[in-house]
Amino acid sequence: MNLAVNLPGLEMKNPILPASGCFGFGKEYAELYDLNLLGAITIKAATGTARYGNPTPRVAETTSGMLNAIGLQNPGVDQIIEKELPFLAGYDTPIIANVAGSTVEEYVEVARKISRDPVIKAIELNISCPNVKEGGVQFGTDPELAKMVTAAVKEVSGVPVYVKLSPNVTDITVIARAVEEGGADGLSLINTLTGMQLNLAGRKPLLANKIGGLSGPAIKPVAIRMVYQIRQMTNLPIIGMGGVTTAEDVLEFLLAGASAVAIGTANFQHPFVCPEIIQNLPDVLQKYGFTSVEDAIGKGHEYADANLSRA
């Protein structure tokens, strides 16, 4: 069965890619399986200079999910280009660079540098990280700022730009519209939902950062709703994600309108989950009457009576 999908800048063998932050720069998972099996890879966020991130503990399990507050730890864009990308150049899998920053200038600098590396086929513009004090989600919750940073990055990027949206907004379609006007080539959603968990014995938040981003199956219905809503208002290609653990989940995102589907937290539970989902996908598509991945994209809207009201 044909699993291939084509998105701006990304010729994918299949619609499955690991989500940014859950896969490092690929080396660790490359010891477990052949990264050529993947449709694409989104590498860990890059910022202008090295960041250490937040104090530990940085993760806590929740019911059917987890909270994280890593805080964009990374060696900085120059080190990533020099030390991490050469390894990935050996694979026939498109690499997406997640670009983060505290200021528009930082986003622009990182995007300009990393998009010039031939390994990078697209940028995922991270305006939705909930775990840093400056930048990140402030660009993802204000439509004007979202549009401005998208336009600024588009101007310097040598590759297509997918904007990663935050679910921590009243109406995600407003932000989607804004970044579309800013020139986004695609959308990526959702990032984590902000949450908190208290330790009963310690009488304090479990994460050192207090607040973290909730991911995992617990947030999948939120993600499906948002992909569905955005598909009704724009034709921009969507990389959908949020709580995917099975090929059935992938089909649900395709039906909702995603053209590719990223796997995040599930990699921690089952490190082989991405190749397993890719292996299972043809049977699941066939079971529900589809002849290819392309055939399933957006098909969840055919029998919808009316547009969704804005949530």
Partner: protein, 256 residues
């Protein structure tokens, strides 16, 4: 590191809320160092999205078994403890870097363990004895009900016991015993809660030694950056506990 479904061959409660579990599998034939851990999937479905890192307390290559000891601390470990002999557990292992037992050029080792930090030191004590290194073990527990492996340790060397309330051994902390006994040793090896690791490595800062750090982990293979520790002298300024550790030279990392 390999991925394997290990068969549980025994499960036993060896102290209050403390479970010893032994698995059989090919993993036991891997090169395994004390301090390395298994990253265990908990339960079924999507209830528990994070594996639990649990240190290895013993390996029997002839029987092809691996033993772990863990404490019931929450839902994850409670679920883990419900698995029965005959069941299979999804495991990644051996994970991380252990105590470099085959490279040590020492005659006398001081082992200092607190609570659930004691099990990897048992496997360490066994391996040290096999290479002819003399072992002195100082173990600390909250109280008598929590104590385990006292007899086993006594077979391997000198053993000192401290409990917070004095219900077994001496009343006080492991650091009180270290102060009182003023041991002579070549290197120390410690594992336990962060507070204890800090106290022990401060007390023994003139000595060479190794610490093993406990931390909440995500992937367990070095990809997610959940479990890092500052390492000021390293190129990156940090170490990943799951991949570069959990065992470090005491002076290599800075405990929070």
């Amino acid at each position: 590191m390999i991925h394997e479904h290990l068969e549980i061959i025994s499960r036993e409660t060896i102290a209050k809320d403390t479970v010893q579990m032994t698995f059989r599998g090919k993993m036991a034939q891997e090169y395994i160092l004390p301090g390395q851990f298994l990253h265990l999937l908990v339960g079924e479905g999507s209830n528990h999205m994070l594996r639990r890192p649990i240190s290895i307390a013993g390996v029997d290559k002839q029987e092809s078994t691996i033993t772990i000891i863990f404490k019931l601390l929450g839902e994850g470990t409670n679920t883990l403890a419900k698995a029965e002999p005959g069941d299979q557990l999804d495991a990644l292992g051996p994970c991380g870097q252990g105590y470099p037992v085959d490279e040590l050029q020492i005659e006398h080792a001081l082992l200092v363990g607190g609570g659930i930090g004691v099990p990897p030191l048992y496997y360490l004590a066994q391996r040290l004895r096999e290479t002819g290194i003399q072992v002195t073990m100082v173990a600390g527990f909250q109280n008598k009900e929590q104590v385990f492996y006292e007899a086993e340790f006594r077979k391997l060397g000198n053993f000192y016991l401290a409990t917070d309330d004095g219900s077994a051994g001496e009343q006080g902390f492991v650091t009180d015993i270290i102060k009182k006994e003023a041991f002579t040793f070549d290197q120390f090896f410690t594992c336990g809660p962060t507070g204890m690791l800090k106290a022990v490595s401060t007390q023994l800062e003139e000595e060479e030694g190794y610490i093993s750090i406990e931390q909440r982990m995500g992937c367990g293979i070095g990809a997610c950056f959940a479990c890092v520790v500052p390492a000021p002298d390293s190129e990156s300024g940090y170490k990943k506990i799951c991949k570069d550790g959990p065992v470090f030279r005491a002076k290599e990392v800075v405990l929070a």
